[in-house]
């Protein structure tokens, strides 16, 4: 993404989406991240995703914590409502907002510091709670904003820019999420827009919590020799578990016909994700094999990407709470307050 502000004029030949918006309408403020930061590529993928999904900007709530990654929310969909909360606590704020208004599309953006250290508890509980949101974890293995400390995602032996080697085992958000019963989890790479965009689309369309762990290199603090989250390292070690594409009902995306197995996963909103397994026996609906696959790749020093697990039957937070379909913010006051007569009757119970 460029760091030079672009003129707001629209090229007459720009393609519009179903709502009549061009891609540029989904852009946000000018990025202040380092040139080349992986997070900006994620931003670009989010812009593309939102545009292609015909998301109404003002019906989208962009939520984040604190960190370079958490700034992402400012850089896409400038006509959307945004909320930079406090470090590591975006999940609770989103839970509250989603409880109050279930009709918005919630896109949460976080970092590995934000999510796996200070916010580990909140992320875990948002998963358990089944908040209906897309949760993008921009994972660079370091704390970018505070200048290069190891995060809980740093691999053993990965070195800091100063050369110090990390000693502690990393927390893998995908494995964690699988363990916690997440209903959707995927992993991708910020530089792989072709794979990332359909995954993001699927995540947004999924009813329930959708975690997308995006390896997103930090050019300033974690893109050197010895880092395991560098562009070079990731490109060399990435293994695509399934080839992912997303088919929205209104806009069919055709994928090349091949002889390989294609599994079509129906989404809750009627859309579906087509998954092309590179390994013929990979089943993204089986939690155990997803876990085993990620572990096996790890053991080989590889990174499993793609849609790793999806459970379509999963109910979300509102189902657990048995809430009415109307957003609570829209329930008229008359329906909420039991009134004078009820209070008078109730008072007799306290005699």
């Amino acid at each position: 993404m460029t760091s030079i502000a672009k003129p707001p004029v629209r090229h007459p030949s720009s393609r519009t989406n179903g709502l009549g918006f061009v891609l540029r309408d989904y852009e946000g403020a000018m990025s202040t991240l380092c040139a080349g930061c992986g997070h900006d590529s994620v931003t670009a993928a989010l812009v593309q995703t939102a545009w292609e999904l015909d998301l109404e900007p003002h019906r989208v709530a962009k939520m984040s914590g604190i960190g370079c990654s958490s700034k992402t929310t400012a850089y896409f969909m400038k006509q959307s409502h945004g909320f930079n909360s406090v470090h590591g606590r975006m999940p609770s704020v989103t839970s509250g907002a989603a409880a109050a208004n279930r009709d918005l599309t919630y896109i949460g953006i976080s970092g590995d510091g934000d999510s796996l250290s200070i916010g580990l508890g909140q992320m875990s509980h948002a998963i358990r709670r089944g908040v209906n949101m897309l949760y993008v974890l921009e994972n660079n293995g370091v704390y970018g904003l505070t200048k290069g400390q190891f995060s809980a995602a740093a691999d053993i032996g990965s070195t800091s820019k100063k050369g110090e080697a990390n000693q502690q085992p990393p927390i893998d958000p995908v494995l964690l999420a699988l363990t916690l019963g997440v209903s959707f989890v995927a992993r991708s790479f910020s530089g792989d827009k072709k794979q990332l965009v359909p995954i993001l689309k699927a995540g947004i369309s999924h009813k329930g919590f959708a975690l997308v762990d995006v390896i997103s290199p930090c050019v300033s603090f974690n893109d050197h020799e010895g880092s395991t989250k560098s562009y070079k390292f990731t490109r060399e070690h990435e293994v695509e578990s399934v080839h992912t594409d997303f088919v929205a009902l209104r806009r069919e995306i055709t994928i090349p016909e091949t002889q390989e197995d294609v599994s079509v996963v129906q989404m809750h909103d009627g859309t579906s994700v087509r998954l092309r397994a590179t390994a013929p026996d990979y089943d993204p609906t089986d939690r155990e094999s997803a876990y085993a696959h990620v572990r096996a790749c790890q053991a080989r020093g590889e990174i499993a990407t793609g849609l790793l697990f999806i459970d379509e039957s999963k109910r979300d937070m509102h189902d657990f709470m048995n809430t009415i379909p109307t957003p609570l913010v829209d329930v008229p006051f008359e329906k909420l307050s039991p009134g004078k007569a009820a209070l008078e009757k109730l008072m007799d119970r306290y005699r």
Binding site: E56, P57, H58, R59, A61, T73, A74, K78, Q79, S80, H81, G82, F83, N84, S85, V86, R89, P91, S92, V93, T94, S95, G96, A97, A98, A99, A100, N101, D103, L104, G121, Q122, S124, H125, R129, H318, M321, N322, T323, I324, P325, T326, L328, V329, V331, F333, K335, L336, S337, P338, G339, K340, A342, L343, E344, L346, M347, Y350, R351
Partner: protein, 599 residues
């Protein structure tokens, strides 16, 4: 004290033996006889096995503070005999379980000892061990009914209400009551010199605890999102909210809930959920106690700076740290008023009893939305968990929530540009929009430096413009807070200033001081920021005492900080041992002060 309808007694029992229901039966029966009564539970931070007490004060004059002396102790826990017997006033009575020989600890000159073999009688009358333990407590209700002249019809009626659907239990309870009653009648001169006589002073009152009242307030105010993490003494607030919602907030046609209660993973998350829901436009609240408030600090600052309505109920307990979870205090005043880092100030409401808990919790949501800021309702364990006699709660059906300045799509149409933090009306309050609104309404909420357009800034002037407006907003809020409650006596030159649940004891103390020739005016502060009435009152009095339940005189300090009143000119009366305040503490402190003052 110590006459008809004017005395106090207490039961010393073991936590978890069923004494709680026996005690509330006693208190309620007296209340239904039309006699003003107060019950205070003194319980341990433990589920079972430790000593627990219940103090009942009967006061024909309507005093509801904790009694300064007790006329009788019902000693049923041998491990506290020595302590219990010491609390009986000279000339008072001690009732104990004489199944076991008289313990030397119980012997004290100047008091009358009454023994009734509760345990023995229950072993004979009931088969199961559990029944024998539980019904022993009901047996002492029977004995007290005889000794104090409690109306047995009322007791019978209450048992029917409670156990009507379980005939076996009902019979057993009746049997146990009769055991105690008959034994006392047969062996002692009943009633005692202090006793009960029907009155007509409770007809328009109810017995309710503050947590229930706050929950009802949240329900009536139209709160839809409640987030919490369990903590004594705040837990019952959300539990009550939940049960009210189950009764009143389930859609009849679909069986679906028009409320959301989220039990969070901790208080940080509970605060985050509350703020997220407040931002989205719901009336949202969380309930907690001191340790939870400590954890919420960062979020409280965020809500203050980003101007998000949110309501925090703090049911205070004894601090610092884990402190004494089942003892009361008013020691969070400053940590609420100035919660979080940076320059922050918050609106705090101080209910004094459950009726005010109800009213102020409704008000708290209005204030939070009108001023777009966190609002704290500072209750405490005594108010929250004890049953208070208060006037029946009332509701005006014409009430509509004050949603404050919220611009919807139509309103946005009419303006050229929406700037979230722009003070258009000059009252310090900027209009907000709710997420989901279209047009010009979308903006970015950020806890980092922002200007009046909500854009990120590190510019000194743009930053200051926003934080200075927050100061103006707060000053404006001071003019719209619940006014202090002021009670004057003729010729008073002395002022008593207090807050919250101290009210009952301070008002009683004022009467006692008056009777001793020291007329006093009482002002109970009901909100922070303080209105002009507070400074006026202070200026009107030669000598002012500030009575509060914490070690450091936090209210006194806040008055000093906010009103520029020299702290030394206010005489502190501090009571922070964890028990509800008694009038005696106040009277003694004031008279001691005057005894030491050379006129």
């Amino acid at each position: 004290m110590s006459g008809i309808n004017d005395f106090a007694f207490k039961m010393g029992t073991v936590n978890g033996t069923g004494s709680a229901s026996a005690n509330s039966l006693l208190m309620q029966a007296i209340f239904r006889m039309g006699i003003p009564v107060t019950g205070k539970n003194v319980f341990p931070s433990n589920i079972q096995g430790l000593p627990t007490w219940y103090e009942i004060r009967v006061s024909k004059d309507g005093y509801t503070a904790r009694p300064s002396a007790v006329d009788m102790v019902v000693a049923l826990n041998p491990s506290t005999y020595a302590k219990d017997v010491a609390t009986v006033r000279p000339g008072g009575y001690l009732l104990y379980d004489s199944t076991w020989p008289l313990d030397p600890d119980l012997v004290r000159e100047g008091i009358t000892i009454l023994g009734i073999p509760f345990g023995g009688m229950c072993v004979e009358a009931f088969q199961k061990d559990r029944d024998r333990t539980l019904l022993r407590n009901i047996a002492y209700v029977g004995a007290l009914a005889a000794l104090l002249d409690i109306d047995m019809d009322i007791v019978g009626q209450m048992l029917t209400e409670k156990y009507g659907k379980k005939p076996q239990l009902l019979d057993a309870n009746h049997k146990a009551i009769k055991l105690g009653y008959d034994y006392a009648k047969a062996n002692y001169t009943c009633p005692l010199p202090f006793r009960l006589e029907k009155m007509d002073a409770t007809g328009d009152s109810i017995l309710m605890d503050g947590n229930t009242a706050c929950a009802l307030g949240a329900l009536y105010a139209g709160a839809t999102v409640g987030a919490w993490y369990p903590i004594t003494p705040a837990t019952a607030l959300m539990e009550a909210f939940k049960s009210f919602c189950e009764k009143y907030r389930v859609d009849k046609d679909t069986g679906l809930n028009n409320y959301a209660i989220l039990q969070a993973e901790d208080e940080l998350a509970a605060a985050g959920i509350t703020i997220g829901a407040g931002w989205a436009g719901a009336r949202a609240f969380t309930n907690t106690s001191g340790p939870g408030i400590s954890l919420m600090q960062e979020f409280i600052g965020l809500a203050y700076y980003t101007e998000i309505p949110s309501v925090f109920f703090d049911v205070q307990r004894c601090g610092p740290a884990t402190g004494m979870p089942t003892r009361t205090q008013q020691a969070d005043l400053m940590s609420l008023a100035y919660a979080s880092h940076g320059d922050t100030k918050h609106i705090v409401l101080f209910p004094a009893n459950p009726k005010e808990c109800f009213e102020m919790s409704v008000e708290s949501f209005d204030i939070a939305e009108r001023f777009q800021t966190p609002v704290f309702v500072a209750s405490d364990l005594d108010i929250g968990m004890n049953d208070w006699m208060v006037k029946r709660l009332e509701w005006d059906d014409s009430y509509r929530p004050d949603r404050g300045k919220v611009l919807d799509a139509a309103a946005l149409e009419k303006i050229q540009k929406f700037s979230r933090y722009l003070d258009v009306d000059g009252d310090g309050i900027a209009a907000r929009t709710l997420p989901g609104v279209g047009g010009k309404g979308a903006y970015f909420v950020r806890g980092s430096g922002h200007d009046k357009h909500a854009a990120y800034t590190e510019d000194s002037d743009a930053y200051q413009e926003v934080v200075d407006r927050l100061t103006r907003k707060f000053a404006h809020a001071a003019t719209q807070m619940p006014k202090p409650a002021i009670h004057r006596q003729d010729g008073a030159e002395v002022g008593l200033v207090t807050v919250g649940g101290c009210d009952a004891a301070v008002r009683e103390a004022a009467d006692l001081l008056h009777a001793q020739g020291i007329p006093v005016d009482v002002m109970r502060i009901r909100a922070f920021p303080f209105g002009v009435e507070v400074s006026d009152f202070l200026a009107q009095h030669e000598r002012t005492f500030v009575i509060e339940q914490n070690r450091d005189g936090q209210l006194r300090s806040m008055i000093g900080i906010e009103l520029g009143v020299a702290r030394d000119s206010l005489i502190p009366i501090l009571d922070y041992g964890g028990m509800p305040l008694t009038a005696k503490v106040v009277v003694d402190a004031v008279t001691a002060h005057f005894a030491g003052v050379t006129v």
